[in-house]
């Protein structure tokens, strides 16, 4: 490997909600192709950090740079078009549509861009998009549910489908906010396998997770967030051995 290439740089980000300092002085560098886990107790600011990266929230100060492009100030759809996709903590899916259509829509966004007035074309003629979506559903083990109403899926299945919706875009950076929450042990392991498989394809990932089994199976780097600050980061072994971390987080809950 040559010198590591920082693809995502969160630089001196602060985020205040009124009096609450939800993110303080965050400096985070994620290297290309790596899986970077962010762990920390409830309310630490993990989701807020993803919200700042994805353009859902504007930071009070500081900025986020992705592969040379400043993300701060861009709209969520522009950020996605740069190659960033996100799985939310509470699944954001098209509950009224079929599972297959849920996965076809992001594929169309990837192919056609932010807007296309193709209203006389038939969706049925989008054969390659459909096949792509079916392959994706097969990968996450949901092909048999393709005609189901997404709203009627179990919580774990909604998450897996949302993951498929992100993966079908082949994002360069994938942000995952507790992707296995609400899943059975079996589904969690399938998801870990799936995420490992994508890793070999070179996708960069930022993953928030409470499940330490998931974190230590996937992460190359871990940052520990507590009360809006990064209190430690490094390789899994470094973080595991860090007494500050054990005190603030690991010791407390596990």
């Amino acid at each position: 490997m040559s010198t590591p290439n920082v693809v995502l740089h969160v630089a001196d980000v602060h985020k205040r909600f009124g009096g609450l300092h939800a993110l303080a002085d965050i400096d985070l560098q994620v290297e290309e192709g790596q899986t970077h886990a962010i762990i920390g107790p409830n309310g630490a600011g993990k989701s807020t950090l993803l919200n700042v990266i994805i353009g859902k929230l504007a930071p009070t100060s500081g900025q986020v740079v992705f592969d040379g492009a400043v993300l701060t100030g861009r709209k969520p759809y522009q950020i996605n078009q740069l190659g960033i996709a996100r799985v939310f903590q509470t699944p954001e899916i098209f509950a009224d549509l079929s599972v297959l259509h849920n996965v076809m829509i992001p594929a169309l966004a990837k192919r056609d861009g932010a807007f296309k007035l193709n209203m006389l074309r038939s969706l049925d003629s989008e054969v390659s998009i459909r096949q792509e979506a079916e392959h994706m559903l097969e990968d996450v083990g949901m092909l048999s549910s393709q005609d189901m109403h997404a709203g009627s899926l179990s919580r774990g299945d909604k998450r897996r489908m949302e993951l498929a919706m992100c993966l079908i875009q082949h994002p360069r950076l994938l942000l995952l906010d507790e992707p296995t929450a609400g899943m059975s042990r079996h589904d969690t392991n399938t998801t870990i396998e799936l995420l490992k498989k994508i890793k070999s394809r070179g996708m960069t990932k930022v993953i928030i997770e409470h499940d330490m089994h998931v974190v230590f199976s996937l992460a190359d780097k871990i940052s520990v967030l507590a009360q809006g600050r990064i209190i430690a980061d490094g390789t899994p072994d470094q973080v595991r051995g860090n007494p500050k971390v054990q005190e603030a987080y690991l010791g407390g809950t596990h």
Binding site: Y77, N80, L108, A109
Partner: protein, 382 residues
Amino acid sequence: MLAMSRNDILLFLGFTIAVLAMPIWLQPFGAAYPDLLQRFMIFGIFAVGFNILFGLTGYLSFGHAAFFGVGSYTAVWSFKLLSLDAIPAMLFAIAVSGVFALVIGYLSLRRSGIYFSILTLAFAQMSYNLAYSVLTPITNGETGLQLTLADPRHVDRMFGEAMPGQPVPTLLGQSLGGFAGFYFCAGFLIIAFFIAQRITNSPFGMMLKGIKSNQTRMNYTGFNTKPYTLAAFVISGMYAGLAGALLAVTDPLAGAERMQWTASGEVVLMTILGGAGTLVGPVIGAWLIKYFENIFSAINETILARFWDFLPDGLDHAAVVVSSKFVGEGWFLTLGLVFVLIVVFLPGGIMEGVRRIAHLFNRPDKSSPSQGKAAPQPQPAE
């Protein structure tokens, strides 16, 4: 690329046949006369277009009568200034109402939900009031804009003398009164339905449904949702303008009341009554409302008195007084009542009722309904 699925072709053919045969199958209902049939077509177009916005994107406009009115005025002006031929009038009406919709849509779509609805309502009421006040040179105010013998009709006059008698809209020289007017409107309804069907089944239509279902996800999926909603708004505005123009063809007297909020509300009722988001539902809603409006608003106290005659004296009088509130001018009271019942008991409208009944009959057959509904079970209100 223009391939349609078998179901879509069947739906389209079925719809076309049902429309063209209306003068026959509506006879037993006493509704097979041109004037009413024309209105069925016109409001069917209005509702189909409204559904492209409301049914697909979920944005509820309370001001679509404005575009309907603009279409009417534009058509009458085309008759007055250019030619009595209906085709240029239609084209101008669609174009002008499209421009109107672009402006109003651009401003209203800066908000969503109830604020969007209020904005559209405000713009429509503004148009209505303007039509009555400062714009009277264009709209002829309360009297309404109508055709006169003295109209310039520049294009017509280039090709010879105007026909004698009261001017009426024509198609290639043929008068569009009576059944000719019905078939003219029916042609447009069929085209309008076809285009709506294409839009619904296109990737673009899928994006509109995505916006209705979860706009946040659309944004994080890389879509700029603004131009999608604006396009839907403009298309539905053009449909409304076309409908308004057709009303001007069949009845060339354009009045501002066509833009009133009750007219905007009526198309909302038609769409929801029939089933928002479905293709045929809004048309059926429009037909039913226009049919019952026709019946109920014609009933007067004399008819009621005859109807309740069998009741004992005194009681029959009370029955007449009470029921008279629901007919004639009071038809809207009946409509409101029916609407409440539908929304409470059948939130998906008549089409949901049809789906439920169809389900009772073919339980084991799990074929998915033709309207792109993926749910294996009937779904609750959206």
